[in-house]
Amino acid sequence: MADTTLSTDKLLDMYRTMQTIRQFESRVRDIFQEGQIPGFVHVSIGEEASATGVAAALTEQDYITSTHRGHGHLIAKGGEVKPMMAELFGKKTGYCKGKGGSMHIANFELGILGANGIVGAGLPIATGAGLAAKVRGSSEVAACFFGDGASNEGTFHESLNIASSWKLPVVYVCENNLYGEFTAGKDVTSVKDIADRARGHDMPGVVVNGNDVVEVYEATSQAVERARKGEGPTLIECKTYRWEGHVVGEEAFLGKRSYRPSDEIEAWKKRCPLITFEQRFVPDPFSQEEIDAVQAEVKQAIDDAVQFAQDSPYPEPEEALEDMFSAA
């Protein structure tokens, strides 16, 4: 068994990460609606525990691939909120110098191989990062975040088969939030639990409460241990829910049509990852004051990030032509 005992420091770190994701996403949503952020923005409010619990079981050298709903994954893997926010604004100081935006944030130094605008595209990429570790004989693991909808792409099935056949160190993390855009998973998906699809590829498939950061952490730690021992991949399905629309501002597309019952949304809000944590760990081992202090500290960091993004310059137009080919 993996040693999954959590120190109080680590627990509090996880809480801080979840708070950072929640506050980052909430601000991004508001700023987008004010018109300061261009393009499309998908926020992950309500899904903070899966990003956080998975990343907490990884080392800095490990890899992740992310999705269009990727801000949380990046923050959890160590992404800093200033260059992230600047990227969302399209500023030169962003992680990708303004070339990528929300859907394409990446930071290879932190092992973040990128958010992705193409559903299912991260699956082969994470598989390849695991393959790299295996071929060169190093110990990194790749964690691959993707949605329930993405598990209907061919890339999902092809990747799981490759990773299982070649015993690659990959942890596939399906964040099942019940919907892909405006379509309920149950209407277009052959299985109830995405984890069941692991069986077809002869690997463990685990269902966890995706809103419980500790449960996610423990399942991931075991999968990571298995991967590092050369025993191959695991599929973890985190049952969760997005509180917000598919994209911020989806009302503009939808008009009066709705695709989710409001009592469903309310029920999931009661299962908030942050509240779940607080109910379990406050007042013991954390006092309410400690929790409040984390919230305040995070708020300051997000304020600073917004300020940084606002103050940063746009890239020069001609920079559009840079970064195409390596000089070598």
Binding site: G39, G98, G117, G120, A150, Y314, A320, L321
Partner: protein, 322 residues
């Protein structure tokens, strides 16, 4: 005549054709909602058996469309953003495009693929491409790029009735643009260009959304005493070479404008046709204006820098006519 916007034109064309032919049916992501409104209401009228909300499995449902077409149906397949065509490239290029030919002409493949294309404002590299140029070098596909509501409706109806694979590219920026559209039924034939504006000094061939930009530029050029003719090919395959060449024979100067990439783009192909077949008409080399060969960047000033627009068109024409 009543006015209609581009999205409404798509919607009414789809509804009319679904009514017209019981062999038609639709597949696509979220089409019961119609993320951009093009398919809204269709489920109410035609039912979930004919308006199929697909899983996010482009290769699967595009290919299922090809199979259904071979088995006697007339599917209309929506690929949401044109860049997602890359996820079902084989089914479109290796299967739909080739099966008739490879089988010695045995099977018609009456399938229509629709996709939203073009840069709509910081949607970044994977949601902003035009993609149609890449399909132009795949024999077996017809390619339609409407520039306004009237053509959109008439061309989409023709595409659906065509017994061949037709790809229809709908520029998202045209979504709310309005035009007069007759109430009575009409078709716009695939393979006929439109002269959108007559002129005598220069021909501007413009594709899709760029037609609106070329018309704006032509207006501005008029103030400088330059008379520009604007040609909209409407379909890239087949290409109405005759209309383009006879315009060039009149003006002796030509600029081809496309939002897609410069290299091997639609503008390159059209320019090559003019150079091959219209050389004697030309006073100057054919000129292209298209996006430089980089992915579409996210940041607004970068995106603006790479996209052609009315100002860049008029500046290029002035340079050409020196």
């Amino acid at each position: 005549m009543p006015e209609m916007n581009f999205i409404q034109a798509i919607n009414t064309a789809l509804a009319e054709e679904l009514r017209h032919d019981p062999a038609t049916f639709m597949m696509g992501l979220d089409i019961w909602v119609g993320a951009f409104g093009a398919t809204s209401g269709l489920t109410d009228e035609f039912g979930a058996e004919r308006i199929l909300n697909a899983p996010i499995s482009e290769a699967g449902y595009a290919g299922a469309g090809v199979g259904a077409a071979m088995a006697g149906m007339r599917p209309i397949v929506e690929i949401e953003f044109a860049s997602f065509f890359y996820c079902c490239w084989d089914q479109v290029c290796n299967q739909a495009a080739k099966l008739r030919y490879m089988s010695g002409g045995q099977a018609d493949i009456p399938i229509t693929f629709r996709a939203v294309c073009g840069a709509v404002g910081s949607a970044a590299a994977q949601h902003s491409e035009t993609v149609y140029s890449q399909f132009m070098s795949v024999p077996g596909l017809k390619i339609v790029v409407p520039s306004g509501a009237y053509d959109m409706k008439g061309l989409l109806k023709s595409a659906i009735r065509d017994n061949n694979p037709v790809l229809v590219f709908e520029h998202l920026k045209l979504g709310r643009s309005k035009e007069e559209v007759p109430e009575e039924e009409y078709l716009v034939p695939i393979g006929q260009a439109a002269v959108k504006r007559e002129g005598s000094d220069v021909t501007i061939v413009a594709i899709g959304y760029m037609v609106s930009q070329a018309l704006k530029a032509a207006k501005a050029l008029e103030e400088d005493g330059i008379s520009a003719e604007v040609i909209d090919p409407r379909s890239l395959i087949p290409l109405d070479e005759e209309t383009i060449l006879s315009s060039v024979a009149k003006t002796h100067n030509v600029l081809v404008v496309d939002e897609g990439h410069l290299r091997c783009g639609a503008a390159a192909e059209i320019s090559a046709v003019i150079a091959d077949k219209g050389f004697d008409s030309l006073d100057a080399p054919v000129k292209r204006l298209a996006a430089p060969d980089v992915p579409v960047p996210f940041s607004p000033p970068l995106e603006k820098f790479i996209l052609p627009n009315d100002k860049k068109i008029s500046a290029t024409v002035k340079e050409m006519l020196g």
